[in-house]
């Protein structure tokens, strides 16, 4: 075991020295990409088996339960009503004249029926507006912004060049600030990048062959984009939009949706 760890550390050291030896000055640009994700607001819909099992659990729970005070009261009410119908002498008039359990249940049901739950389909969903987080409440949404690469503009995750003297995490925070405006609040999940992507420039720029993109993962907290027009896309829309290789690298670190 000890031997193995020593050998392993030796190998990594050799590897590092070798990598250093190849080029004292890196010929790649270091770029930080930020994957800002809005987590689902509403729980995803249940699938068939989940629904079935939920129903089973509910029935089991009722079968194993004791009667509630409301049910007892309802039964008493029934007995009293029966007695009243038969014009029995034992009827306790005080007990009958009050509100029955059935009345209370009806009133509660009516109140529930009147209550308007917010719709899962928001205005943005109806309009097909992708620029707001108030859409696809049951899904994960990822922020994409137009990025200028050389002469053409592509829609990718927000990204920016790393500057000398800052850590990659600081670059990621700066990128979000610069490209989305100060109003957008996000929470970074780690100091470490969660994904990697590498691409070559069509021709060398300032002696750099291409760019190595280190993705950082952050969760959306609050606020809006103010600077650029970005879109919040769900998984299938991301699939359509992103270039194939880039999409593969991004999909590596994203959670799969099961529905």
């Amino acid at each position: 075991m000890l031997c193995r760890t020593i050998i392993q550390s030796e190998i990594t050291l050799c590897h590092r020295i070798f990598a250093r030896g190849l080029g004292t000055r890196s010929s790649w640009d270091i770029v930080t990409g930020v994957c800002v994700e809005r987590l689902p607001v509403v729980t995803p819909p249940l699938n068939d088996i989940q629904k079935k099992y939920k129903d089973l659990l509910y029935t089991l729970e009722i079968e194993k339960s004791m009667k509630s005070a409301h049910e007892i009261r309802h039964e008493n009410d029934k007995v009293q009503a029966e007695l009243l119908k038969n014009e029995s002498a034992e009827v306790d008039m005080d007990a009958v004249s009050k509100i029955t359990a059935q009345d209370m249940e009806d009133a509660a049901n009516e109140e529930l029926a009147q209550f308007q739950f917010a719709s899962i389909e928001t205005d943005a969903d109806k309009k097909g507006d992708q620029s707001t987080t108030e859409r696809c409440l049951q899904r994960h949404l990822v922020l994409v912004t137009p990025i200028k690469l050389g002469s053409d503009v592509k829609t990718l995750l927000p990204q920016g060049l790393w500057k000398e003297g800052e850590t990659l995490r600081q670059t990621a925070e700066r990128v979000v600030q610069e490209q989305c405006g100060p109003e957008l609040k996000v929470q970074f999940i780690s100091n470490a990048p969660c994904g990697f992507y590498k691409y070559k420039y069509p021709s060398e720029i300032n002696g750099k062959v291409g760019a190595k993109v280190f993705f950082y993962y952050a969760n959306y907290k609050s606020g809006k984009l103010t600077k650029t027009k970005g879109n919040w896309l769900n998984r299938s829309e991301l699939e359509k939009l992103l270039p194939e290789k880039y999409r593969k690298s991004v999909n590596e670190f994203l959670i799969e949706e099961t529905y």
Binding site: I30, F117, N191, K198, F253
Partner: protein, 204 residues
């Protein structure tokens, strides 16, 4: 040593402090001479006026104090045995009284229903297993992606790598909300209602 301490006792009477008196006594000690000096004792204190109190009152006061203490001790002893009950854990007596009344008649399940339920339980177990396996696979995939990114970063720059593997202390305390069953209604004010605090006070 003994002679010296005796001398200090009478130092007040001496005209000159004892240290200056040449002591021609042969002391045999195993320790080197210690140069500690004791301060002179005063052996008296300023006089205090004494109040005269009726002995009856003093007695009554004493009595009262003793009774008070005894009462406190008794109360403490009583409370030591009696623990503060937790209301939520105690079944109310009226529920225990009509326990039989609250029993629900057990439904007669047919063989088909029992069979269907058993099958559903098994299906559910299988479904959860698959879900678990896919979750683990996803976590593995995401961790591998991060590992790869970190390895690439190490190739690029060791300093950046060292910064990246530092723990992120801003994450603690971590708070996350949701997801919820129905979307929140904007500008909805929940009806607070009125309530009466019925919790008992348990101070001694």
């Amino acid at each position: 040593m003994m002679n010296l301490s005796l001398l200090r006792q009478f130092s007040r009477l001496a005209l000159r402090p004892p240290s200056r008196i040449p002591i021609r006594i042969r002391n045999i000690t195993t320790t080197p001479a210690v140069q500690f000096k004791t301060t002179d004792q005063l052996c008296a204190e300023p006089m205090k006026k004494k109040k005269k109190i009726d002995p009856q009152i003093v007695k009554a006061r004493e009595e009262r104090r003793r009774k008070k203490l005894e009462k406190q001790i008794r109360r403490l002893e009583k409370n030591a045995r009696q623990l503060k009950p937790i209301d939520e854990l105690e079944v109310p007596l009226d529920l225990l009284d009509n326990f039989g009344k609250r029993k629900r008649p057990q439904p007669k399940l047919t063989a088909e229903v029992i069979e269907a339920r058993a099958l559903l339980q098994k299906d559910w177990a299988r479904y959860k297993r698959e879900e678990y396996i896919s979750n683990v696979a996803q976590i593995d995939r995401i961790m591998a992606a991060q590992r790869r990114a970190l390895d690439k970063l190490l190739e690029e720059s060791e300093d950046l790598y060292n910064e990246a593997i530092m723990p992120d202390l801003q994450l603690i305390p971590y708070e996350i909300k949701g997801p919820v069953a129905t979307p929140p209604i904007k500008s909805y004010e929940s009806p607070d209602g009125e309530y009466i605090d019925v919790s008992k006070k348990w101070d001694n």
